[in-house]
């Protein structure tokens, strides 16, 4: 019976994806299995992320959830004009999360969250056709969020807290399309910045219209990671005053955009829950990726991004099948923040359809295993990045992209 159920869930599994840009929507196995909905769902300490105001309504005195997702993402590129083609061989991403909540009094709860909502790990073959834009990138941002949640009454609560972010980025690309050393090795630069930290905040509210119908809203502030003492390491530079590239320090800013989520959940027929979330990510802050080299002889690198604000529409279902099993499935549509002509290969995101499924296995009173699976489907897209310049002349990088991602996840929940 257990096996049958398990197979049924995976057969059902509709697709899922992670979000546009370098947003990685993998902040909890329970929520992800329901299309990463959760702003109006009251069921676990994952609410530290999704809606801190919900924590105060949790039934358990103490709850802790931790988990990991394995991100298997692939990008294929081809240019039918030249036959150039490439596939990424990106390392498996493993975003983690940890949430704890503690019910201090009837009206007050505390929480702590550690999660990674932004990140990217893309690795092309060195010197591929778009190597003047990116060879590989590894971006990580860890959010640490102490949280407080209090209720006005059984209908209305508020929550929120400060967010401390520590991030790192490692990025390598070739300097241009042709520069090599004497032996033909392509000149390239590696930008590295780690331990970059900043502060932000989150605030949310929860409205229980009835016992079964909930509405929630969460706003997470924009956080800009300013790297003040990153490094730039140049490799395969010809020995010539005409190519004055020497290792130097850099300054760069990378924004983690603000995100507003509103949504509802509805419990029906005793054991079913439906949830809907709407996310608006304020990507317009990501206007340009600029790298300021401390060495004045090296021209600063300006890379237009011009992202636009984007929306995500999320739908999730939960079914308490047995005392032991809770099954979940979901779908979300993720709009790309990338405008036409700005399709850069380090985050080649077009609109995606995402299908999710998962389940929770209750092992006794206190322990749960949470599993989820996400499949992100991107349509094949002809796109170009038109803002790379050589000697003042724009050199568009065109081609066809096809992307997908598979994200299995596993977590544990312990509650008292």
């Amino acid at each position: 019976m257990k096996k049958v159920l398990l197979l049924a869930v995976f057969a059902l599994a509709s697709a899922v994806t992670y979000a546009g840009g370098y947003r990685v929507s993998l902040q909890g196995n329970k929520a992800l299995a329901m299309g990463h909905t959760g702003v109006a769902v009251i069921n676990s300490s994952e609410s530290v992320f999704f809606n801190p105001a919900a924590l105060v309504y949790l039934e358990d005195k103490f709850s802790i959830s931790a988990g990991v997702h394995g991100v298997f993402s692939n990008i294929a590129y081809q240019d039918s004009e030249t036959g150039a083609n490439a596939r990424t061989d990106s390392p498996v991403g493993t975003p983690l999360y940890l949430y704890a909540s503690y019910q201090a009094t009837d009206w007050l709860a505390f929480g702590l969250g550690v999660y990674t909502p932004y990140g990217s790990s893309v690795e092309y073959e060195d010197d591929w056709a778009g190597s003047h834009l990116v060879n590989n990138i590894d971006l990580q941002a860890i959010y640490i969020q102490p949280t407080v949640s209090f209720k006005i009454n059984d209908k209305l609560s508020f929550g929120g807290g400060p967010i401390y972010v520590t991030g790192s980025v490692n990025f390598n690309r070739n300097l241009n399309r042709t520069l090599t050393d004497l032996d033909g090795n392509r000149a390239n630069v590696t930008i590295d910045a780690s331990g970059v930290s900043s502060w932000g905040w989150v605030a949310s509210t929860m409205v229980n219209l009835t016992d079964d119908l909930h509405i929630g809203a969460t706003y997470r502030s924009e956080i800009i990671l300013d790297a003040e003492d990153g490094t730039a390491e140049f490799e395969n530079i010809p020995n010539s005053p005409l190519t004055p590239f020497e290792n130097t320090s850099i300054k760069a800013s990378l924004p983690m955009p603000a995100e507003m989520t509103v949504g509802m959940s509805y419990d029906f027929c005793e054991s079913w829950t439906f949830a809907f979330d709407y996310n608006r990510t304020f990507w317009d802050v990501y206007n340009s990726l600029d790298i300021d080299f401390a060495n004045e002889a090296i021209p600063d690198s300006k890379n237009a991004r011009n992202y636009k604000n984007s929306s995500i529409y999320r739908f999730g279902m939960q079914y308490d099948a047995t005392k032991m099993f809770t099954l979940r499935a979901g779908y979300y549509f993720d709009e790309s923040p990338v405008r036409e002509g700005y399709f850069a290969p380090e985050t080649p995101r077009n609109d995606s359809n995402n299908f999710t499924a998962g389940l929770t296995v209750n092992l006794g009173e206190h322990l749960q295993i949470d599993a989820s699976f996400l499949y992100s489907h991107f349509k094949e897209v002809d796109a170009s990045y038109n803002y790379y310049f050589e000697n003042g002349v724009a050199v568009p990088f065109k081609g066809t992209y096809k992307t997908n991602a598979f994200v299995p996840g596993l977590g544990l929940t312990y509650k008292l």
């Binding site: 294929a76 081809q78 033909g184 002349v393 096809k402 997908n404």
Partner: protein, 510 residues
């Protein structure tokens, strides 16, 4: 239960790694591109330095990797093209050794001097390619730097013993199948299904780069009597060229023939201006005074005597003015007056007579070669500041390709090109008009994704630092031309390349 989950995830993990996104029609699929009626499984390229990937005055590995045949072979791989082996050099220095002694110079690189001025210099260092180390195996790229048309069918051209005497070629000596092998024989022996042939450039080019120092051998049908800088007789060219095409098509191979560009399209002849001598009014007047007797008495006198024609007299007039001036030169196509001027009524001293013997000023339609830039305006005798080359010392003939010499080159190359195009038509082979394509680069340039490809020396992008051979970008442009001709002739759809992805000159300081 835990185990089930564990195994399920393990299986999924393995599955996802292999679950690659697939395009609706991948470029790597058979049939996405087509070779049409051509079979590109075994491609052999035959030619000279251009085919070898020679650049910057030498042959070196990165140049060879950007040879037009290698670029084409990479694109042929989309339509069933096979492996493409090249006789790669041992390094990126470019010079050749024979038994440990260097016999050709290293490549040029663009270096910045102490004053901050960039310019081409020879790369320093000891090269490691010794031609007495024979390469084994056969090579798809049969481009042999320095080869003229008749060399490709000359037995012994790859015999290392003949290299010191000039009867053999050091590059072919590295990979000739035997001492008596011919280039075309070794090419045909590989049974190519497809070939390219681009030969004949050196049959006029060495005459041109030597400023016309050689002899126009038109009418002489025995190439074994030719000197290195001579122009090959067009009938000799036609004869050996059709032999080569016959040999390469003997087993039914299809192919492409490429014609000979004009020398006036290459920066070696277009970089140094003909009026390179700046003079102020006083100096010009002083010089004119020195040549007054020559202009007003000697030349009219010689014309009256019937020694020279009025046209030659006009050609020989010397005149300077304030501003940019044409240098003086010796032109061996002029009547040699050295002896006559020493006799009556002129009775000039021998030294002066020799100076005036074949003297004229460079004309605007002459071409001054690139290497003249290092001698024009210099004072070879440090004790005689008045002895300036181009002003008081004539530029020697090797630095100037005179109009009369250009006419011989044009006549020969026009004849060669007629042969090439006629043979392409007769044999149903693809034909590339490299002459017209290179003229486009030289006259205004060719737009590509990132700029305009021109034949401007150093900065134009098409030509390497020897001023004669293309850069990788220039070779990529050539490869695209040939691919387009193959596509047109054989109903193929071989993809071309973005030439902006190919490098131009190499900067490095010694």
């Amino acid at each position: 239960m835990k185990n089930i989950l564990k195994y399920t995830f393990a299986v999924l993990a393995v599955g996802f790694v292999s679950c690659e996104p697939e395009f609706d029609s991948p470029v790597t699929d058979d049939g996405f591109y087509s070779s049409g009626t051509a079979n590109l499984s075994k491609y052999v390229s035959v030619g000279n330095s251009l085919t070898a990937g020679y650049a910057d005055g030498a042959l070196y590995i990165t140049g060879q990797k950007n040879s037009y045949p290698n670029i084409m072979a990479e694109q042929f791989a989309f339509v069933g093209g096979g492996e493409f082996n090249q006789p790669l050099m041992n390094d990126n220095m470019g010079g050749l050794l024979l038994g440990g002694t260097q016999i050709t110079e290293n490549r040029f690189v663009l270096a910045v001097d102490a004053n901050g001025n960039p310019g081409p210099v020879r790369l320093e260092g000891t090269p490691t390619t010794d031609i007495s180390n024979k390469l084994s195996g056969s090579f798809n790229n049969m481009g042999v730097p320095g080869a003229k048309s008749f060399h490709l069918v000359a037995p012994g051209y790859g015999n290392v013993a003949g290299v010191p005497t000039g009867s053999a070629n050091p590059y072919f000596a590295r990979f000739a199948s035997s001492e008596n092998a011919t280039v075309v024989g070794d090419a045909a022996a590989q049974n190519p299904t497809f070939f390219s042939l681009w030969i004949g450039n050196n049959d006029i080019l060495s005459y041109a780069t030597s400023g016309g120092a050689g002899v126009d051998q038109t009418g002489n049908f025995d190439p074994s009597t030719y000197g290195g800088n001579d122009i090959t007789d067009p009938n000799v060219f036609a004869s050996v060229y059709s032999q080569q095409v016959d040999a390469l098509t003997a087993s039914g191979a299809k192919g492409v023939l490429v014609n000979i560009p004009e020398v006036t399209s290459i920066p070696y002849f277009t970089t140094v201006p003909t009026n390179a001598i700046p003079l102020d009014a006083a100096t010009a007047a002083q010089l004119n005074a020195q040549f007054a007797a020559y202009n007003t008495q000697i030349l009219p006198g010689l014309t009256a005597m019937g020694v020279i024609t009025p046209e030659e007299a006009a050609l020989r007039m010397i005149n300077f003015s304030a501003g940019q001036n044409f240098p003086i030169m010796t032109d061996d196509d002029l009547t040699d007056l050295t002896t006559i001027l020493q006799g009556a009524p002129f009775s000039l001293p021998p030294q002066l007579a020799a100076l005036l013997g074949q003297l004229r000023q460079v004309k605007s339609d002459d071409l001054i070669v690139l290497t003249a830039s290092s001698v024009l305006g210099t004072t070879p005798d440090p004790n005689n500041p008045q002895g300036v080359i181009g002003v008081s010392i004539p530029l020697t003939d090797q630095y100037v390709l005179a109009v009369s010499e250009q006419a011989r080159i044009t006549a020969a190359s026009t004849a060669y090109n007629a042969t090439i195009q006629a043979l392409a038509g007769a044999k149903g082979l693809a034909f590339v008009d490299a002459k017209a394509a290179l003229a486009r680069v030289a006259n205004g340039g060719v737009v590509y994704d990132g700029g305009v490809l021109t034949s401007q020396f150093v900065t134009g992008g098409a030509f390497s630092l020897d001023g004669v051979h293309p850069t990788p970008r220039g070779y990529a442009y050539t490869a695209n031309l040939i691919i387009q001709a193959i596509n047109d002739t054989y109903d193929a759809t071989i993809p071309t390349v973005h030439i902006g992805n190919y490098a131009t000159i190499t900067v490095t300081n010694n």
